[in-house]
Subunit: 341 residues, 2 copies
Amino acid sequence: MIFVDACFGRETPYTPVWMMRQAGRYLPEYREVRRKIGNFLDMTKNPEAVAEVTLQPVEILDVDAAILFSDILNLPMEMGLPLRFEPGVGPIFDRQISTDKDIDSLDPEGYKKLEYVYKGVELIRKRLHPSKALIGFAGSPWTIATYMVEGKGSKHYSRIKKMVYSDPMTLHRLLGVLTENTLNYLSNQIDAGADVVMLFDSWGGALEQEKFLEFSWNYMKEIARKLKERYPNTPVIGFSKGVGLYLEKMDGKFDVIGIDWNTPMERAVEVFQDRYTLQGNLDPTRLYSKTATKEGVDKIAQTMKGHRHIFNLGHGILPDVPVENAKFFIDYVKEVTRRGR
Amino acid sequence: MIFVDACFGRETPYTPVWMMRQAGRYLPEYREVRRKIGNFLDMTKNPEAVAEVTLQPVEILDVDAAILFSDILNLPMEMGLPLRFEPGVGPIFDRQISTDKDIDSLDPEGYKKLEYVYKGVELIRKRLHPSKALIGFAGSPWTIATYMVEGKGSKHYSRIKKMVYSDPMTLHRLLGVLTENTLNYLSNQIDAGADVVMLFDSWGGALEQEKFLEFSWNYMKEIARKLKERYPNTPVIGFSKGVGLYLEKMDGKFDVIGIDWNTPMERAVEVFQDRYTLQGNLDPTRLYSKTATKEGVDKIAQTMKGHRHIFNLGHGILPDVPVENAKFFIDYVKEVTRRGR
């Protein structure tokens, strides 16, 4: 698989490419499945629907990797927090975590209840072309904890940051429980057929540098370390958003580090050299215009020439991007990075 | 004024300190005025109320500077866009800007309609102790334009970034009109008695580096340059949020550069040396705990020792911070930075 080769820094005929949220609302075929099933959460629980929408972008856009269709909040939901999605707000936990007693109420083996995910992974791997990789994923413990403590998306992260500064021991305990579950959740995804796994830390940037290292990155590192012990041949991708200023302090047994679009790729290469494959980082809004897409891809390709690289957006694809432009992005990346050009 | 001295890099007996949003909801005295007036927007239009709440944190906390109580959106409102504030959403422009015709409909001299602001500045300067500075302010053209194009706060800034990538000329025209208005708006604040002026670019970080320089920082620089021609003795503060990765590319005739809390102060000093006074940057959530406040202040004070510095938070103070903790922050900064200690 060209994608797995790129994760390990082996030579590939071109730079492989996929898009975060590529199984998503910008695709009419995705919207059709969602219409049939009724809502997002039910889709994530239906292995057939999961397989279908996961495979759509591979068939339609010819990306080099499929990423499991799911949500990072399925795990805490199955650990015991009822989850709902409210239009215009997003995910909501009506019950929140703030005390040791709240943590006691969680199922310490919640990962075992995600059979529908493992089943989906099996179906996808069976149907996916052998040359394409399947990426499994989970949220980082910090990001999951943030949702569990705040109850929903947050602007200032006041509740969890109160814990960071006033009750760090309770928070560390919660992060420990989540780390154990996430490790096993990803292991099960690999056992079911995932070729690569990725940790999404959407809210790493909510913390200043030393607190980010203590409350987020260290737990991600622990998961990566234990995964590599269990599965040395499965690449692990770490992606924290909003931490471009902290790169110097980020290490660990990852094969790939995701770079968000705010971080100039020059800087990421300067910091990491070729210790990791770097994944990213086109600004997703560039996909509104083919000219802007081309300009952005050219710049990144130039910077990453001769370096370990997987092309991607620097954040998820937006729902109102024309499919034609997404297709142009994928095709153009392959064209411009083809070796011997 | 110790504050103005620090802006120009002159020696001061201690590092002066104030807080963004210090005239705000965490103060019971502020909430009382707001209750009497009824709503936020009416408060900004009432010079007596403006003066009263602007002076409150000086009296209560003994900060070294007062900052005019107002909103960055009063200017575009007076240029012709009706503004309202919706609880839980924030500011909303029901009519948005997207075409040349929309720009034609704006009052190119809207800044003249902000007499209530100039009147407020006069009242404050009259009542404020002569040792304390009064900071006037405006939003950056890019940040104001973002509100005018998006209509309200935004997660992905899709509409204005579509303009960045598909219709940059129209956007540059809008930014030009805003730049001219902002320059005159700040000039009038200085004429009315402001000792210092500050440009707030809350959404600079919505752009990748080169686009940030083109669509935001360049306009801020132009305003600073022209202000310094007119008022060489009035310090100008530039503050863009979310651009810690772009510092190397930021220059201009500012006296002070604000640093957000995501940006390690070490890095800011390394990049700017003592070309500017640096303002910032305690994480506002540290104010939830005195221990965390102390730890954070100690670290910043250590880093900035011997450098040009104004102490501040790295973002606005949050409404649920205890006044006692805010007071502790101000007192502790003065204590720990006092020379000869």
